[in-house]
Chain length 423, copies 4
């Protein structure tokens, strides 16, 4: 099992544990070493006895010289390997606001730990393509975006003392997610998949999980607003992330029964319908906010109405294409990002409904352990969103206007069944 040492003068022992085999972790590591022109020797290898057991491997990684070895190690550390002899994580102060030290460590979206003051500390608020800041006083480590860095922040550098845990393919069935794959096809049994997603949403809520919905205005245009509203009413949504357009058309639908002037009941453009979305904004401006529009009884239904009535937090991020925008819209995009992250904290599941812009934003803010359901009619959007290394994502190329009514119906049936069983 050993490669004859060619001219490999630099070596280091590394180890890795987890569901090594079925999650392809070990294959990826070995493959990367060989791709980079290095070599390895397997020192120890224990296959997990039962499905739920971890496997463990200890290897000697070999490079032609120290630089070559360092390069190899940096890449395989990102794949889950760690040095056998753990060293303290290295960090340097940021030389100025928003400025990183040269050799800053750039995060993956997998759960990450730093060996800090003699123990493994999990990095809090993990997101992809960010940096890690340590706080020696509290003994904590945080993930921060470059724009948030203050002069003197202690930024993790190099690759030592950092441990990454890539997501593992769940051994036991967890519903729909078990057959997730990178490909997003519209040629799957739609009703069956929706049924399984409903089951999954139901079970996540049953164990107290947090579900965040990211939605675009197509939900309203396609006439699915009431379906999403009913999901909120039934208690399946713990936070809503969107933009100005969803809220404007949701209000337009509540007030005039149209979306961009198209009657949701008849499917035709109404007379003078073209002014409805501006009139909707005007009505909200008059009462002062969406919140007041609900309190004063101006709007009596819809997605935003249900959020406010049921105290479900929502964040509307501003964008360059907004009309208005509505008072609750956060027009500063950096502030909007902060508010998005607050809502996403500790989420177990994110449902992405027909919005590339907000979904990509959210995809960059969540760790790879969050379950993701992404529904869009454009296969390219679904592929882009799934393409993040998560093992717990399911992509559905479908029409949100027919998908959501069926999903809401399934959830309603699960609720009824539950109540029936209680009796």
């Amino acid at each position: 099992m050993v490669g004859k040492p060619r001219n490999f003068s630099a070596i280091q022992e590394v180890e890795v544990e987890g569901h090594l085999i079925d999650s392809m972790i070990l294959s990826r590591i070995w493959d990367k070493i060989m791709d980079l022109g290095g070599d390895f020797e397997v020192l120890e290898f224990r296959v997990g006895r039962k499905k739920t057991d971890y496997s463990y491997a200890k290897m000697l990684v070999k490079g032609e010289d120290e630089n070559h070895l360092k390069l190899i190690l940096e890449e395989i550390f990102r794949l889950g390997a760690i040095p056998c002899k753990v060293e303290e994580v290295k960090y340097k102060p940021a030389p100025a606001d928003k400025i990183l030290p040269e050799d800053f460590y750039s995060t993956t979206n997998h759960p990450t730990y730093v060996y800090f003051k003699g123990r493994w500390v999990e990095v809090e608020g993990l997101m992809m393509d960010k940096v890690v800041v340590v706080d020696p006083e509290k003994g904590k480590a945080y993930c921060k975006a470059i724009g948030e860095i203050k002069k003197g922040d202690l930024i993790v550098v190099g690759e030592k003392g950092i441990k990454v845990k890539p997501p593992e393919r769940p051994r036991e069935s967890i519903g729909i997610f078990k057959f997730m794959s990178s490909e997003a096809s519209s040629e799957k049994p739609a009703s069956t998949i929706i049924k399984q997603i409903a089951q999954d949403i139901y079970e996540v809520k049953k164990v107290g999980g947090k579900i965040v919905v990211v939605a675009g205005p197509a939900v309203i245009h396609t006439g699915a607003a009431e379906s999403l509203a009913s999901m909120i009413r039934m208690g399946f949504v713990d936070g809503l992330l969107s933009g100005n357009a969803l809220a404007v058309h949701d209000v337009e639908a509540a007030l005039y029964g149209t979306s961009l002037g198209v009657s949701l009941k008849e499917g035709i453009t109404l007379l003078k319908g073209y002014r409805n979305h501006i009139a909707a904004i005007n009505e909200i401006y008059k009462v002062g906010s969406l919140k007041k529009a609900v309190e004063t009884g101006l709007i009596k239904k819809g997605i935003i109405y249900e959020c406010i009535k049921n105290n479900i937090p929502f964040v509307l991020a501003g964008s360059i294409r907004d009309d208005g925008p509505l008072p609750e819209v956060i027009t500063d995009t950096i502030e909007a990002q902060k508010r998005y992250r607050e809502i996403l904290k500790d989420a177990s599941m994110v449902l992405m409904f027909s919005t590339a812009l907000h979904s990509i934003a959210v995809g960059n803010m969540i760790p790879s352990t969050v379950r993701v359901v992404c529904v869009d009619i454009n296969p390219a959007t679904v592929t882009k969103l799934l393409d993040r290394g998560s093992m717990q994502a399911v992509g559905v190329v479908s029409d949100i206007g027919t998908f959501l009514p069926i999903l809401a119906e399934e959830l309603k049936n699960l609720k009824k069944l539950e109540e029936f069983q209680k009796v």
Copy 2:
């Protein structure tokens, strides 16, 4: 209302009648004349008094010389204009099998008449991009494909004695079709549109109209086979046009509950599922045909089962990508085209479900008076199919796997309502 005669030495009186204004017919004719460098003088113009009245216009069309005028006339005749002084249609014999005279008349997909033996004769079996053959003995005119031409067939040539009636925008509401437009958007209120399509299907059947379904295998893959099967069972389908794949996967689903090996109930690829579609073909080969598979009780459900049980004719056209193919598949494509046309004869409505190949074929075989509903997840496919000048087509960019269950449910409700009202 007259243009000063520049150097227009060739003139001809033409007339046009119909719902000239709202159907844009007159605009198109005037526009074409001016585009081609000609001129015109309006001699008479009667606007229809009521919505249901026709308008009538008589014009003097002017060209620089006879050739120029001829060119202009040829183009505007295709838009519905006809010469005031009607002349007999001209025709020449085909010099050999499959050979047309030089100046053959190439058909549009609009209802077409030839002035033959002193009277207007409607061209039977009209299709687009074909030729017209007249039969002096029977005084009839037929539309034929070039491949069907026999030596000596009398082929209509030139543009004289031919009258085209472009489709008119229906004045009175006819359900969903009233808001048809060339654009195919996925951002329409889906449930509303489906409800209107259901209403339309229902009403077409109520007045004894013929409805033909063109469907691809995605109907099975997406788990919507039972929805289409129920539409057949309820009597909403008078003919089914498809290919080998739909039938193979329909049988596979009926026998093994899978489509291309994917369990329709669980959405996962079954063990050894990869061999199911070949095994399905094998089972049909054993009993000899799909018909016998139903008679012997081998298959007990599905789209093909319902067709056979309810005596609904179906045609499966062979294609280069077929496995098998099944015994009922017509592997000669010319023969398959003939059989398609037989099914499409006198159809009032065609429903195209997720198949570009067969839908394009059908689109070329039907006149512009047939109502078309086209559903596909790919907007390019929907656009291509709508792009045929019909005023009675509706395109829906949606997921057939969620669209069909909702459509079938709506039709079921309409049926129930009807029975309820009878009581």
Copy 3:
């Protein structure tokens, strides 16, 4: 030519002039009247003698009562009709900041005039779905977004004293735009269309027109950055509208030869490439701005480099999905909209390259007289952008990575030819 007066008790004379026939304007007006249950009588009708002449029509529009008539008039005024007896435009003060009077007039994207103090005044800064504010002191009228309205602003209300000029189909050929249609197909002769777009860009610049480019990061990912950079260098671009991502990846490409870590020269993901876009942001933060990065020689090529070197203004709008963002990015979306509008002022032509977000924003800011070229690989995006009533838009479903190199090459050839002819 007259409909017998049924029970039409309310009447008004209206007139319309322009290229009525070929632009379908008259058809649309008559059609709308009949759709709404009204009637009309043509009082006078003069067809333009030559192609470049206007036509003129005077009609008596009839409604069942004053309310019915008002409804009809409101709709046809938006289509270009105006009352024969011109009345002063009506306006009311805004009751508070951002609040409109009930019956505010909502703009189209067509050039619009108000009859104000006895003369027709063109509304300045016209955009779609906005309102009109008049200034009695200056005798001027401005188009404003609802968010910009201050208490006391005089907002135009009702439909009187307003004249809309819908775009006309250009009579004489103006290159590519003559065959514009609402449909966006990928099945067009690509090289030919690109050649014609190049010719059009060239001619717009030759007569001193202003060309604004709206571009997304796909321009960089697909390796077309140098093509767009060369268009700026050659003087074909007068303004660039984009977001953070284009600039980040443009800098990443200039510094490291990668885009999102993918080597633009080899097409493969480079080692440690994942950190390049964050490192690129870091480098810019260090020098302070993109401008300084060019001045100090940090970046020596690319789209942003050419903009700065050639004093071409660019605006980068912030969005929820930004990393960083870069110092020049305007994170407040309302401020970003203002800056976009400044760049778009007096633009003759807008080129939209692979960005739905920014293109939709721009589409809402420009009048229908601006020529638009929209290139995207997603047909749904192209359709959405063309669907704005302009007669001078061309949509191309193509790969920006192959489209731009061919376009830049054509423009280079036109430049060379010009220089050759000078000699």
Copy 4:
């Protein structure tokens, strides 16, 4: 490295060799065993010393009983494992024409061997989802479609004596194919990828490889016919697979300069252009065939012209949507499949240009060792075609009308360079 025997009463030794690790073969096998509730013990494991060396593993596979073990073995045999103790392949005669024995072996698209008469015999003409027929007299094994089976053919059954060699990720760079992945994105550096594909085509030809092009009519519509024609002229194409439409529009372009009536030079629909494709068919019918049209000088350029002039075989398969069809079109789809397969025999590389129908057909006819380049503007088509387990496929979401001119130009440059170097 051993799991404690739980209740596994059935065991079998299996072995596997190849580039086990980097090709994920071993991971897939272990994963499948555990998924199916089995267990395994690694008896021997030799990692290849050098990149070009094979690895070897011997395992004990365990099932709860013989049936369970059989199920596991069947699945892992398809992944490349084989029993250590080789048994003769089993076969049964077909009971009738087109009828398979119950337990027929259904092929993968990977190279396959049967242990027949004491030695491993490679299955000839391998295709996916077909069956294997052995010929005891010649000692050979053939892959056959179910429709070709004759009564008495000896059909391989069960899973014994069969060895599958899944494709391996090439260790050394082989140009573009090294970075192939299952995802098909339009956001890749297009010019770079095209350059690499050109290099690859060039190298395949240099070593005498056979290249087959599969192309749809969009190649003509988008104006890329001359680019493909030049590739044939330069000797880069050894066979062309297509349908009627490509040939019709190729002839139309050669005769009239239009494709479906659209002028390829001006991009506009020509006067009377609508009849050009029927007229093109008529011209071919007159001379009798495409071949004669070239010989008589009727057509002097285009794709078909170059094929005939350069003796490159082409097959045009009939389909339900054909006009005409042309004399060379094979209207019987089973016959067309046979002819396709003849052309594909021993192909090293297949280039699929903008045709889902013919590409899917071809995808089912070639083993996984053939390099595939698939170009289409629809990402769903590219994904579908790549989704076949090959490690040597590259998908490009691009516009064939801009892609092909750039590819042809690159190939021309490589040719020139070659000639220059010879001198």
